[in-house]
Symmetry: C2
Subunit: 331 residues, 2 copies
């Protein structure tokens, strides 16, 4: 097995975030799931956009955000995801490539347009997401570059993409390609709603040993294991995945591997502006440590540093120099 | 003459800003005019976008930014400007309407696309702008709503739009409509390059008494008057316009009216992040005071407060609650 030239290749939704501050009353008025992610159709997206204040557009997408963090830390990364042949598609493609990430999935002609996520940020910094998947849900299995997947140390998959049919098929093929080449598969559960719909798939994959690194937050852990108690949830899962990483918002994060538990507190943040991308950037920091052979406790700290950066400003792509932040914090 | 229902109606470029931080070397390498605004064609826009890092998109356009500030302060405003029937056009239209500004110019079908401005922000917070005018330069005189112009207390015009032919004709018609209805005409000189090309037009309009309020920065004042010394420039112009307002970056601003000079220092800013929109928001604060009958010195302070807010973050649209900022500062 030759040394992989890519560290992490990811498959994820190719989304542009459209974000604006809002008050709590607006979340209530439109019956949004506060703090959650909801898929919306064209009509609902239009209705919510009408209600949204002046916004800003910043490339997003969970796995794409993770790669943006990894690349900013110096990682060699590649992304697979579907944009449409339109202006927001150009924006997404520009931003990911400008971040130093290889991105070769051809844009899809015609309707629907590139995916967008309408993100309402309440005064406490919490984000409530409404995703119009558009072109993103039509990622065809043919878009997979199996040679590229075989050539990456880690294949990173976003649970969100398990929901639409074509990308799900693509991801199953990608897992087979990665495992066939002897690579690791990392998976993030993304959101409790995905587990509600596809938990059986995930539990089966985990039981079959197809997932090497599993990322979840505490809510997703509970949804997957059916255990409300955090430590019960960890206990139920930790023997089934070689490396389990669970984030707990302001309570920090935990990793379980080799029968051991590792914990890290959250990094201090002067002001939580917008929590969008906190989990994505935690995964970026953690994976950066992992592919560079750092000890698990340091991987957790790297995750916490990156998450703290992302919640201190609008948008889920890093603004500060992550390399420098890490150097300052870890020396 | 009935009481106008709109306070300020503006004609300006309808632009989405595409902004990213960059180092000084990039400005040099591409021979950009540091701190200035340069019009670019499709090819140059493509070349510069390729060189740009991951960016964010925020609605812009000089006069549109001014209205966004005015509306945030509680003003009743309307905007006239040309977008294309595309995604960036939707973004622009959404943001301006979501800010509470009336905007009725129909989107233009087909090519060229909506205008965008590629803004490179150096570590000192200075912005270097490269504008692809796209659809914006095709604002037809027919797009003018002369009844709406006659119904606004102030018609505010952006010098940038004097450059392309169709909007120039539209602006001449708008000035005639406003003057015919007995309204005031405010004009911002926008950039020294516009004065290089159209200074004779501007000087003739000023001499003919067509401009009631003239906004300029110190560089534009020098270009228009041919006087390098700031006070010589003021002296040369102040008898020709009823109200002359000149900004001087970190040296504050000056207004000349009725033979008197009024000065205000710049408001303190913790960190200058991005100077994009400083002049636009100064004009917003000043005009807000003016249409509400505040004394000139207070209009200047209002301008300085709004300018300080806008340079403390990325983008030329206000993020903080301007009303609250003003209330805190002026009580």
């Amino acid at each position: 097995m030759s040394k992989p030239s890519t560290q992490v290749i990811a498959i994820g939704n190719a989304i542009v975030d459209v974000m604006a501050p809002c008050d709590d009353a607006l979340i209530e008025r439109f019956g949004m799931t506060r703090g959650g992610m909801t898929l919306v159709d064209t009509e609902r997206a239009h209705e919510l956009y009408q209600a949204m204040g002046p916004a800003r557009e910043i490339s997003g997408g969970s796995a794409a955000n993770t790669l943006a963090g990894l690349a900013a830390l110096g990682g060699r990364c590649a992304f697979i995801g579907q944009v449409a042949d339109d202006q927001l598609g150009e924006v997404f493609a520009h931003d990911i490539r400008a971040g130093g990430i290889s991105f070769a999935t051809p844009a899809r002609a015609g309707d629907p347009p590139t995916a967008r996520c309408l993100i309402f940020v309440t005064p406490d910094g919490q984000r409530t997401m409404n995703t119009f998947l558009g072109a993103s849900q039509y990622l065809p299995p043919a878009a997979l570059d199996e040679a590229a997947i075989g050539d990456a140390e880690v294949l990173y998959l976003e649970g969100y993409l398990w929901d639409p049919e074509e990308p799900r098929a693509a991801m199953r093929r990608a897992i087979a390609a990665a495992r066939g080449a002897g690579r690791k598969v990392a998976f993030t559960l993304s959101d409790a709603f995905v587990i509600d719909r596809h938990g059986d798939d995930f539990r089966a994959m985990i039981a079959a040993g197809e997932i090497d690194i599993l990322f979840a937050n505490h809510v997703e852990l509970a949804a997957l294991t059916g255990r409300d108690d955090f430590h019960d949830g960890i206990a139920a899962l930790q023997d089934q995945v070689p490396l389990l990483v669970v984030t707990r918002s302001e309570q920090g994060a935990v990793a379980a591997t080799g029968g051991q538990l590792y914990e890290v507190p959250a990094e201090p943040v002067a002001r939580v502006v917008d929590t969008t991308g906190a989990g994505d950037l935690f995964a970026a920091g953690f994976l950066h440590g992992h592919v560079n052979g750092r000890p698990v406790s340091e991987c957790l700290t790297l995750g916490a540093i990156c998450a703290a950066e992302i919640i201190s400003h609008y948008g889920a792509r890093p603004e500060a120099d992550l390399k420098e932040l890490v150097a300052q914090r870890l020396g």
